[in-house]
């Protein structure tokens, strides 16, 4: 990518926008406020005239007790540059806004999520059902006046813990003895679960006459929840014509714990270990994105050494994740656990390093605002250097034995194709986007941290099928090794933290959207602060959740046996999808 196409936020303001785009006047906020009834028009204008062809995220902020519900959109250009923020202000009572699915199909699952959690009705959405909570759920949990079953206080730390902290269990305070609330007037005997029927009705289903003049019907098959190769508790409802998939809908939320509500009860620092639990394979990347976002609000920069440590950790995480993704893709193909264990061998060496540095193999909790927790342990860099001489050999081995295997090629080539324009429209990111021929990598497109110093290539493959996604992950491991080698060579001595470590960070009022190229795609955090100890809004733009929008497009026309492999090639982690 040439430098000319990289634009900054200040340049955006100089571009000409129509006068109904009101620039944000609150300090600490950015972007434009537009009238809610013109959002579709605005989206069309951004996409067609301004080349903001990629909808990053849709979310909303509840400013209770003010009667203000703000729908927030982030757009970007698939050629690179800073994101653009649009906001529409709605009243909390009649929260209705036009759906953007017609302009950006990638809004589909996200709008459902905003409806589910914040109660914004998107008119014109083809299938506006709850997505993360169950269909009989009472209320919209991310509204500020909604309270959970184990509600104790609005914000942590709770007063009951100190100085008179008599121990008691949360469930003892709830009449149901469980973390469960029922909507008012709910009677389990009389309640009819109509969600299933609505789901099946929303799917394309046509009867037709076959060649012999016999009418053939199409059947619905549910894959999951708990299908052994679904990478977690995930369900796909598929309409089949014979063995061919006609339509498919992902059903999720089985692991939903309302991470964002927890995040809004927490203080800023307390969220850090919770981010580990999103994509539990890549906890360091999650830490990285969250730290960057809050650092944006705080306006601090970590010292040199910390930046290098962060990059080392993020790239090790990428290798770690791709090894797992490749290994388990082979599992989905039927090579039960033999290839994946060879991949896990290398991963073991990586998480040993994570453990030595952070104290935990998976839940690292290693980043802090303005640096990292502690310096690398003695001898770790030497260990890393040794590992970097071993890993290329092992990656070549994986490549040699897997890429050439006839079974792998027959089962993956030309299957699950996602065309490039479709990938952009669906807001796909990460390896999914790059395997479809779009060389978009945030490390290059909108460099964060110190990625602009490293010499590496943005991997891209052009067929958009499963095989290319598999090869692309191998390519990315090799590029990560390149970055790691440079980082290990250049890492300076010095402090690892800007300022003193403090547990009560004072975050100035404002909003920030921070993002990193996580191994699975664009991982973003949208944090709104009002200057107090807890965030007003804490939103996670989860890459795999949004990548699932493309699942139906990739599966249609393929055989049912390939659906599991296609899902495996997206590389989802349910901790992040369901949040």
């Amino acid at each position: 990518m040439s430098d000319a196409s990289v634009i900054t936020q200040t340049q955006i303001y100089e571009e000409i926008f129509p006068d109904w785009f009101t620039p944000e006047s609150r300090s600490g906020y950015e972007g434009f406020i537009i009238p809610a009834e013109r959002i579709q028009e605005a989206a069309q204008f951004l996409r067609d005239d301004k080349r903001y062809d990629f909808l990053i995220s849709v979310t909303a902020v509840d400013y209770y007790p003010e009667d203000c519900l703000e729908v927030v959109y982030h757009f970007k250009r698939s050629t690179g540059g800073a994101p653009l923020t649009l906001k529409c202000i709605l009243s909390r009572e009649s929260s209705e806004i036009q759906s953007l699915v017609a302009v950006y199909p990638g809004a589909e699952l996200q709008e459902r999520e905003v409806w589910d959690l914040l109660g914004v009705k998107f008119t014109g959405h083809p299938d506006l059902r709850r997505i993360l909570t169950w269909e009989g759920f009472g209320g919209h949990p991310l509204r500020k006046d909604w309270k959970e079953a184990f509600y104790e206080e609005e914000f942590k730390p709770f007063k009951s813990r100190w100085p008179d902290g008599k121990f008691s269990r949360a469930e003892d305070h709830n009449p149901l003895q469980d973390n469960l609330n029922f909507p008012q007037g709910f009677d389990p005997d009389k309640w009819v679960a109509d969600g299933e029927q609505t789901l099946y009705k929303s799917m394309t289903r046509v009867s037709k006459l076959n060649e012999d003049g016999i009418e053939s019907d199409q059947i619905i098959v549910n894959l999951g929840p708990q299908h052994p190769s679904t990478h977690g508790v995930f369900r796909m409802a598929a309409v089949l014509d014979g063995e061919t998939v006609v339509d498919l809908k992902p059903v999720m939320g089985y692991l939903h714990r309302n991470h964002e509500k927890i995040g809004e009860r927490n203080t800023y620092l307390q969220n850090m270990p919770f981010t580990d639990r999103l994509d539990y394979i890549c906890s360091m990347s999650n830490n990285f994105a969250y730290a960057l976002t809050v650092e944006k609000l705080l306006n601090v920069k970590p010292p040199e050494r910390a930046e290098y440590i962060r990059v080392i950790m993020a790239e090790l995480t990428r290798i770690n994740n791709h090894l797992i993704a490749i290994g388990f893709l082979l599992n989905d193909l039927g090579a039960f656990f033999t290839p994946v264990l060879y991949a896990l061998e290398e991963r073991e060496l990586i998480i040993d390093m994570f453990e030595a540095a952070s104290g935990s193999r998976m839940m690292c909790n290693y980043f802090r605002f303005g640096g990292v927790v502690r310096d690398l342990p003695e001898g770790m860099l030497d260990h890393l250097k040794k590992f970097l001489t071993r890993l290329p050999r092992k990656v070549d081995e994986l490549d040699h034995y897997l890429s050439g295997s006839e079974i792998v090629r027959i089962r993956t080539e030309g299957i699950g194709i996602l065309p490039p324009l479709q990938a952009i429209a669906n807001s796909a990111s990460g390896p999914l986007l790059r395997a479809s021929g779009i060389p978009y990598d945030l490390r290059r497109a909108d460099p964060y941290s110190i990625y602009d110093r490293f010499d590496f290539d943005v991997c891209v493959r052009y067929h958009g099928d499963i095989y290319d996604r598999f090869l692309l992950r191998l390519d990315e491991i090799r590029q990560s090794i390149r970055i790691l080698k440079q980082a290990v060579r250049d890492i300076p001595e010095g402090p690892i933290m800007t300022g003193k470590p403090q547990y009560q960070v004072r975050v100035p009022a404002g909003e920030a959207y921070g993002r990193v190229e996580s191994p699975k795609g664009e991982l973003g955090f949208y944090v709104v602060s009002n200057g107090k100890a807890n965030p007003v809004r804490y939103h996670v733009r989860a890459p795999t959740f949004i990548n699932l929008t493309s699942l139906a497009d990739m599966c249609k026309g393929n055989k049912i046996a390939d659906v599991v492999t296609i899902l495996g090639s997206i590389d989802i982690v349910l901790g992040e999808v369901d949040r």
């Binding site: 709770f158 100085p163 902290g165 121990f167 104290g359």
Partner: protein
């Protein structure tokens, strides 16, 4: 030739199988159930079998490994336990899942707080072992443990740790985290020396 890739793929399993035995013969008995054998098998240069035979063998945990906090106490010469915690409450405030409960001691006569905890609970079912309490404790009084084998049959009875269960001697802390312990002691000594010097001056 069609099918060559499959045969090649199968051969790697055979190769690893053979390599494991070759390595076993080469290394002999030292390869298993010895610290050097375990270190060898978790190294970047290992060939052959990679796995550790838990629970007969255990991977040594690195110093920074963290699992459930404990409270450090010092034993004075007359055998009295002096717990370092001053019940300042920072750990309870910083704890993300809010699993720490502290009752501060108050002087019954004056009603003023005494800097020692009367009761201290950690619900280890809630604890996420994030280590923030140990990180932000200004008195080095709460530290993360290395003992990860804490399974029990009844969570209601055994999973709320009280002061007695949480308290562990300073010597134990020094043994599991020697580098950290030394750094803290050095910092404390330097601080005391500086204070003495300023008093003398």
């Amino acid at each position: 030739m069609f099918g060559l890739g499959i045969i090649r793929g199968l051969s790697i399993t055979l190769r690893h199988f053979v390599m494991t035995y070759v390595d076993d013969i080469r290394k002999g008995k030292r390869r298993y159930h010895t610290p050097e054998g375990i270190a060898y098998r978790s190294n970047t240069e290992v060939t052959g079998m990679f796995t550790i035979q838990y629970p007969e063998e255990k991977l040594p945990v690195p110093e920074e490994f963290r699992y459930i906090p404990f409270l450090v106490y010092e034993t004075s010469e007359d055998g009295m336990r002096k717990i370092r915690c001053t019940s300042c409450g920072i750990c309870a405030k910083v704890c993300p899942p809010q699993c720490i409960w502290i009752v501060r001691t108050t002087d019954p006569d004056t009603g003023k707080p005494i800097p020692t905890p009367a009761e201290y609970y950690i619900d280890i079912d809630l604890c996420m072992s994030c280590g923030l309490c140990a990180e932000y404790c200004p008195f080095d009084a709460i530290k993360m443990d290395h003992d990860y084998e804490i399974a029990s049959f009844d969570r209601m009875k055994h999973h709320v740790y009280n002061l007695e269960k949480l308290a562990k001697p300073l010597e134990y802390y020094a043994s599991i985290r020697p580098v950290n312990y030394k750094a803290e002691e050095d910092a404390r000594a330097a601080k005391a020396a500086a204070k003495q010097a300023s008093q003398a001056a």
